[in-house]
């Protein structure tokens, strides 16, 4: 059974600081996705990582994928209050012929002014 774990579950950080969110998964996959969810809202796609070593950046967020370690990271640079949200990673199981996304536990980020 595929398990997707994120840490930390909760993160409170000061504006201007850097931090990394980790996403570990338990089975072979070379496709990983990051989403953002604001309170009471739906999920918004942030990054699509499709191969080992993939790196994507958008503003203050950078995501990377290491399929051999089964690990993805979401790095936050010089955090600002607007980044406060819950961040989810999701893994698409490889080799099954279907595409179903299994989500991590989520990381609730609060950036303090």
């Amino acid at each position: 059974e595929l398990k997707v774990e994120q840490n930390p579950l909760f993160l409170s950080m000061q504006e201007g600081k850097n931090y990394t969110i980790y996403c570990n998964y338990s089975t072979t996959s070379d496709r990983l996705y990051w989403y953002r969810q604001d309170p009471g809202k739906s999920l918004e796609s942030l990054f699509v990582l499709l191969s080992n070593g993939a790196v994507k950046q958008e503003g203050r967020l950078m995501a990377s994928l290491d399929t051999k370690a089964r690990l993805s990271t979401l790095h936050i640079t010089a955090a600002v209050h607007d980044l406060s949200a819950t961040y989810f990673c999701a893994v698409d199981i490889a080799g099954t012929g279907t595409y179903k996304y299994i989500f991590g536990t989520g990381t609730r980020l609060k950036v303090l002014a």
Partner: protein, 113 residues
């Protein structure tokens, strides 16, 4: 663009009642999904479909049924509602070729009392 549309947005059910959550997408995606999100938690896959007439169970299918008669629509049926089914339900869709993220609807907030 409408994307993925869910109705209703909110619903209160009494224990033992039944209802259908509607989901439609206008992106011609073959893959569709139903997830539930309990308060403060991640998303759990209930059912998914890889095309009209084809559905399969996800992580937490008990108490739910689905059907997929058209590419656009993927309704979720709750039979004999229970308090444990109080949750926010998200419908999502993705392109059949894989290597792409899922797009989410705005969610249905269901309370069973």
């Amino acid at each position: 663009n409408a994307g993925v549309t869910q109705t209703p947005k909110f619903r209160i059910l009494k224990i033992g009642q039944s209802m259908t959550l509607q989901c439609t997408q206008d992106m011609n995606h073959n893959y569709m999904y139903w997830y539930r999100q309990d308060p403060g938690m991640g998303l759990k896959l209930i059912y998914y479909s890889v095309g009209a007439g084809i559905t399969d169970k996800g992580e937490v299918p008990n108490g739910y049924n689905v059907s997929r008669s058209t590419t656009e629509d993927f309704p979720l049926r709750l039979e004999l509602a229970a308090p444990s089914q109080t949750s926010v339900y998200f419908c999502a869709s993705s392109y059949s070729g894989g290597n792409t993220e899922a797009f989410f609807g705005q969610g249905t907030r269901l309370t069973v009392v």
